[in-house]
Structures are given as structure tokens and as C-alpha cells.
């Protein structure tokens, strides 16, 4: 049997340290080969070290833990670490994916360690709906971030004096086309922008 190796991904350094400390006590043979601060680093470090286990925080900047998990796919045992996110916990339970809730108790981590040890000894196929659960979670996280989902224009960028103002669309009184520019008049003043109304409507 090859040595047990693991990767820890969490954007908060104190939480990486704490997980590392508890793992060292519960499973001294486990070697933490890399620590990642975000999903992108997690994927890069995974490709470099190819550890057999990945502890992934769900909420991370840039690419999150779910994105990283999809990239790693079935090449490692995954344990998600998440802070009180009901929807995520439900999804993990439903998909029989291992997870630990922050702030975790050592006993709970010990359960995961036991499961991981037996899996490393006798690899079991992951549940069939593994990818489906991750896809659904990734979609949910994006929707929560608010960037996707609704695509309407909410803000208009306009130069006022030396600064670029962001004007909430709901405060705009009217827009008027002027040869090259569009005149934006809102509750707090007016400004000329270069974007034609046609483009704003899109």
C-alpha cells in the first residue's frame, strides 16, 4: 500500500492549521503534501502531488471547493469541509459524500479518518450520482453569488467629474440619445455615457 497523502484546501489559514493539527494527532501516518488557498491552487497542487485524499473547503475565492472537486473527480477520496450551509450539507448527505462541518469536533473528524482508512485499503466506487450532486451544488453556489442567474442590467457606469459613478438602474429617471452619447438622468444628477441605449437594453 502506498503512503497516505492528502491535500488541504481552505482560504482561511487558521482553519488549515487546525485541520492539519487534528489530522496529525488522529492519523500520524497521513502526510499533508500540500495546502491550497483557493480552488485554482487546489487543482494545480493536486495535479503536481496527486495525493490520495483531498480536504476541500466549499467556500473559496475564485474557483470554489465544488469546482475543484469536479476537476479532481474520481482520482482521490474527497472530504468537504463546510461552515453551516444547509443546502450543501443536504446535498452531501443525499449523495453519500463525506463532509465535516466547521467548527468541527475531533470525534467527527475521527469518523471521517476511519472511513478514509478503510477506503484507501479497499477502494470502493463512488456513488453513481457523485457528479450530479456536484453539478447541482456548483449551480446553486453560482446563483447565490448573484453573478449569474439574472442577467438584467442593474448598474450604469457613468463618468461624473473625474470619477466613474455606478448608478442603480432603478434610480434612473430617463435616458436620452444624443448623437454619440447617451444622456443619463437620475435622482442625483446627470451624465453622458458612450454606450448607446440599444446596447444598454441588451
Amino acid at each position: 500500500m502506498t503512503a497516505a497523502t492528502a491535500l488541504i484546501a481552505d482560504d482561511e489559514p487558521l482553519l488549515r492549521e487546525r485541520l492539519r493539527a487534528h489530522l496529525a494527532r488522529l492519523w500520524p501516518e497521513l502526510e499533508i503534501v500540500a495546502e491550497a488557498r483557493n480552488g485554482r491552487e487546489a487543482i494545480e497542487l493536486f495535479e503536481t502531488h496527486l495525493p490520495r485524499i483531498a480536504f476541500l473547503d466549499v467556500h473559496m475565492p475564485g474557483l470554489n471547493g465544488i469546482d475543484a472537486a469536479r476537476a479532481i473527480a474520481r482520482r482521490a477520496e474527497l472530504v468537504f469541509v463546510t461552515a453551516h450551509e444547509n443546502y450543501a450539507v443536504q446535498a452531501f448527505e443525499h449523495g453519500a459524500i463525506d463532509y465535516v462541518i466547521k467548527p468541527f469536533e475531533e470525534a467527527r473528524l475521527a469518523d471521517s479518518v476511519t472511513r478514509l482508512k478503510s477506503r484507501l485499503a479497499a477502494p470502493q466506487p463512488l456513488s453513481a450520482d457523485f457528479e450530479t450532486v456536484l453539478d447541482r451544488l456548483a449551480g446553486e453556489l453560482k446563483a447565490r453569488a448573484g453573478a449569474e442567474g439574472r442577467k438584467y442590467l442593474q448598474w450604469i457606469r457613468a463618468s461624473v467629474a473625474a470619477s466613474v459613478r455606478l448608478i442603480p438602474v432603478e434610480q434612473i429617471a430617463f435616458l436620452r440619445s444624443d448623437e454619440k452619447y447617451t444622456l443619463v438622468v437620475w435622482e442625483g444628477g446627470e451624465a453622458l455615457i458612450r454606450t448607446p441605449i440599444r446596447e444598454l437594453v441588451e
Binding site: 475565492p61 467548527p103 438584467y152
Partner: protein, 384 residues
């Protein structure tokens, strides 16, 4: 400046202006100006004039009455039509009175048309008809302009009352908004994700015996105490608010030391001012959540306050984070904050968002320097 009475601000984008049927609205406006009251007064006066002139005329009373009613109706229409016309050089009331004066002889002439078979010489050849024409025209010219002025006076009175009503409505809307936003603030809860992640960090510090644990716990307690919903969240000072913001930022810096830096620069005299609680904190939380947290490299948050040239005060929360996506939802936080600001500092208070270079966002609260008076969100002495 308040919107002109009756001239509603056009909300949202109007891609094309309504240009095609101009005639129909004008016609509707004329018909709208022919109120029951005006029509009745005009008809009543027509009867009165006919009765007064009857002894002088040889023609039957009902013919005379027919003529005066006809003239009255024409003059009323002229008055209403002139009201829809918006001349640049002369005031509208003058246009309307002039329209009545000009229409008077023309209407009288038209009233005579049936009896003279449309031939003007028939009128001029009969001395009685010429006299009748002069009598009617003179009487009409004496009464009609006065009547027009009376109608205009009433109209202006009604407009003033409508404007007053508009202001009262605006005021009560503002008060309701302030109340609503205060309710939302009370209902706002501490985000479990924030709380548990912070607690996980505190736990890590405690377990490792870090000397940082005690000050971090102090910050957490200060934050929780302030963020806990309470009923008497009245006025506070900007200094108190900044202390709360500092606690929050210290917690976040413990959690992401490699990604968050911050600085606070608020002069003491501005810090002593009465201020809306949980306002700067909302902006700072936004800066962390939408600016720093989504960015792999993080950024800085700078909080400052300064006095503007016009005496107003500007409190700035600037971050160098990810910036704002044009289709990102404004979130209840910002919308709520804007109405709370107006409720607390008055209508002149505002929230400005500026884009920072090369990336990031600067959220700025601007409010007049005078102490807030009759602010509905600040019951006096609600908080020590």
C-alpha cells in the same frame, strides 16, 4: 428640486418617445377642461345676459337666448383650447384671456349668421342688427374675461392644493420607507456562515494557545452586541460606528490575513457627530463580501471621512477588490441603507457608488452638516 406638480417622473427606460398622435391628447385635454362646473356657469350666465338684454331687443327671447348660449359655448371652447397651447412669450393665463377677448366678436358674428343668411351686408344694412351685435359683443367682452380670470384663479388654487398634497404624500412615503427599513434591520440576522466560520477560527486560536485569542474574542463580542437586533436602535456617533467596523475588520483580518488589509482615517471632530448606526458597517460588509472575498488576491479597505467644500460630510468606504458586476443585484443592504439615510439625515443625504481604479469600489455616504432634525428613525435619548 421637487418634480413639477402633476409631471410624474418617468421611471425606467423609455426606448421610444410617443410622437405619433399629438392631436388626440390635445383634444382630450380640451374636453377635460370643459368641466361640469364651467359648463353650468357659462350656460347660467348666457341665460342671465339674455334676460338682461331682452328689453332692448325686439326679437323673441328664445332667439336671443339661443345666441347667448351659442356664444358662451364657443367662448368656453376657446378658453379651453388656449389652455392646451403652451406659448413661450406670454403666460398661459394671458393667452387664455386674450383667446376669450378675440373670440367674443367672432362668436357673436357667427351667432348672427343664421338670421342674415351668411351675408355680411344683411347685417350692416340693418341698424337694429348692428346695435344688437354691439350690445351683445360689449356685454360679452365685459363679462367673459372676468369669468376667464375667475376660472384661472380657481385652477391655480387647485394646483397649489395638489402640490401641497403631493409634498405631504412624498413626506409620508419617506417616513414609511424609513420605518420599513428599520424593521428590515431589526429582522436582519447575523449570517450563520460568518458566525460559524469566525467561531471555527477562534477555536483554532484557543486550541493552539495563541495570545491572539483574547483580543479576537473581544472583537467578536463587540460585533455581536452591535449586530444583535434591538428595539431601540436610535442615534449613535460616527465614532461608535467606526469602532464597530474596526471590530468586524479585525475579525475578517484574522480569518484572511493574507488577503485583507485595512486602514481607518476619521478626524475626531467628524467622529463625534451623530450618526446612523449600522450604516458604515453595511458598506464594509459589502466591501468584504463582494470585493475582497471573491478575489484570490484580496485587497485593501480604506475608511475615511472628510468635510466637503459645501459643508456636507462624506464618509468613504473604498476597497481594491473585485468591483461591481453591472448585472449584480443591488441587494437589500444598499437599497435599505439609502432609505435609512434619508430617514435619518433628510432627503439631501445620499449614497454614491464610484468605481475605483484599477479595480474595486468606493461607496460614499454624503449628508448635510446640520444635525438631523425631526428624524423619524432617531428617537431622542434612545441610546446612551
Amino acid at each position: 428640486m421637487p418634480a413639477a406638480p402633476g409631471g410624474a417622473i418617468v421611471r425606467r427606460m423609455t426606448s421610444a418617445s410617443a410622437s405619433a398622435p399629438v392631436l388626440r391628447p390635445a383634444l382630450q385635454e380640451i374636453v377635460g377642461a370643459l368641466t361640469w362646473r364651467r359648463t353650468t356657469v357659462a350656460a347660467g350666465l348666457a341665460v342671465l345676459v339674455a334676460a338682461l338684454l331682452n328689453p332692448v331687443f325686439t326679437i323673441p327671447f328664445w332667439v336671443l337666448l339661443g345666441r347667448t348660449v351659442f356664444i358662451a359655448v364657443l367662448l368656453l371652447i376657446a378658453f379651453a383650447a388656449a389652455g392646451t397651447w403652451h406659448p413661450r412669450r406670454i403666460p398661459r393665463w394671458l393667452a387664455q384671456v386674450l383667446a376669450v377677448v378675440i373670440a367674443a366678436p367672432i362668436a357673436t358674428l357667427l351667432a348672427y349668421m343664421p338670421s342674415i343668411d351668411g351675408n355680411l351686408t344683411n347685417l350692416l344694412s340693418s341698424e337694429g342688427r348692428v346695435m344688437g351685435f354691439v350690445y351683445i359683443t360689449t356685454t360679452v367682452l365685459m363679462i367673459a374675461p372676468l369669468l376667464a380670470l375667475g376660472a384661472l384663479y380657481r385652477e391655480r388654487d387647485a394646483q397649489a392644493r395638489a402640490a401641497l398634497l403631493g409634498f405631504a404624500l412624498e413626506r409620508s412615503t419617506l417616513e414609511k420607507e424609513a420605518l420599513d427599513s428599520r424593521l428590515k434591520l431589526l429582522q436582519a440576522q447575523i449570517e450563520p456562515h460568518f458566525l460559524f466560520n469566525t467561531l471555527a477560527n477562534v477555536q483554532a486560536l484557543v486550541e493552539s494557545g495563541s495570545p491572539q485569542a483574547a483580543p479576537v474574542l473581544k472583537s467578536l463580542i463587540a460585533y455581536l452586541r452591535a449586530a444583535m437586533p434591538r428595539l431601540h436602535a436610535g442615534a449613535s456617533t460616527l465614532g461608535n460606528e467606526i469602532a464597530l467596523v474596526r471590530s468586524y475588520l479585525e475579525l475578517m483580518q484574522m480569518r484572511m490575513p493574507d488577503r485583507l488589509a485595512f486602514a481607518v482615517d476619521v478626524p475626531a471632530d467628524i467622529a463625534a457627530r451623530e450618526f446612523l448606526p449600522m450604516s458604515v458597517l453595511t458598506l464594509v460588509e459589502n466591501a468584504v463580501r463582494h470585493g475582497i472575498d471573491p478575489s484570490e488576491n484580496g485587497g485593501r479597505i480604506d475608511i475615511s471621512a472628510r468635510r466637503e467644500a459645501d459643508g456636507s460630510i462624506r464618509v468613504i468606504v473604498a476597497d481594491t477588490g473585485a468591483g461591481m458586476n453591472p448585472s449584480a443585484l443591488p441587494g437589500t443592504g444598499l437599497t435599505n441603507l439609502e432609505s435609512r439615510l434619508r430617514g435619518f439625515f433628510g432627503a439631501a443625504a445620499r449614497l454614491e457608488l464610484h468605481e475605483a481604479r484599477p479595480h474595486g469600489l468606493s461607496a460614499e455616504i454624503v449628508f448635510p452638516a446640520q444635525a438631523p432634525s425631526d428624524a423619524p428613525t432617531a428617537p431622542p435619548g434612545a441610546r446612551p
